[in-house]
Point group: C3
Chain length 158, copies 3
């Protein structure tokens, strides 16, 4: 499925900022990319393919995302590692009721404060995003991780 | 070389689906991205730079691609690993006789069923693609792998 | 921040060529992507966040870039490894005095001549680029490496 270049531009910019906000530790900016009635969750690919309901992390509205970032800020006074997302191109699935649905593959690297980088997770985002008057917002983001990671309660989002 | 945004959109969507179809184990969909007279081959960069003719995998029409996917399905009842491609932006080379030529760098990660992810291969695709009436199809894909991998007969495509 | 699709096209093509020119060992082509009064430097994220002035590599005009590539060519008769950059989408910051400012995350893999690939560096580019009459040129590129690498004098650029 292809889309108008203006649509790819808006949604590519949205996902680029999604990744850069996390990587640059601007988690409050990251929250602002979501709609109030958003749904953010992290699952593993294994569970999806087996039809299992396990969810590693789940926030079903924006206040829960805000709370989560607040908790993270209170517990971790300093950044404990650096994140770096590399996203592939958006793969569009469809449009319905004003929502664009697309997939984006990601690789996520983490670097320790000593400067060692390693692969942390790969997978894909299934995204529903709303375009309103030139602004794009995230309605749902489901992180489907190939890697069988177990993020702790205090981890940064993926 | 730059191109009209509509052209980048169509060919970026084509390559995004190329990667996602392999990663999501939709190999039959992957085959449908090619023209009937397609050419798909995997070579190593070392051989290309030394002018050696070695080819690790070669299908010089669409029926050979179909056969290969059929064989893979018959031998492997279940997926043995998860693939994840992260593609960079398209780097356009030229246009001739209705064919667009471009390069795309890729990184390919594999995740075992136990959930461990690792780097499997990096390299670039040299692609010739045809645009007809808003549809894009792959005429030739040459995978030039930096990594000196030896894909077996039963491996998934890169 | 979103931009006209034509602008994203031109600057994405510029960065795609930036990466491909290094990876394909066309360093002379890489130099030609810069303006005469360019500034190219490599710093670590740790130093940026601590406000330290350390710079791992610094060329503050195009002649210095040319000299550096010449030196590299004279010392290294053959390529000692293969580079492979995978860039994410451009994240636009602003436009001022005809200069577009944007960030691009990168992952850089190196492959030995024996064919083993490994992660070498991740980080981001902070770029200022000029668009003139359909041509795009790099005014400043600051490589902000998450990875605490120490490139030698003879290393290829990042």
């Amino acid at each position: 499925m292809t889309v108008p270049p203006e649509t790819r531009e808006l949604l590519t910019a949205l996902m680029a900022e999604y990744a850069m906000a996390i990587d640059e530790d601007r988690l409050e900016d990251w929250v602002e990319l979501f709609t109030e009635d958003c749904d953010y969750r992290v699952v593993t690919r294994e569970n999806v393919e087996q039809g299992l309901p396990n969810v590693l992390m789940w926030c079903d509205n924006k206040d829960m995302l805000r709370d989560r970032v607040d908790s993270y800020r209170n517990v971790n006074e300093y950044n404990l590692h650096y994140d770096r997302h590399i996203l592939g191109p958006l793969s569009f699935i469809g449009k319905k009721d004003g929502l664009w649905t697309f997939d984006v593959s990601y690789s996520l690297f983490q670097t320790t404060l000593e400067g060692e980088s390693r692969l942390f997770s790969v997978g894909r985002y299934r995204v529903e995003a709303r375009l309103e008057g030139g602004a794009a917002r995230l309605k749902t983001v489901t992180v489907i991780a190939d890697t069988g990671l177990v993020p702790s309660l205090l981890a940064t989002p993926i």
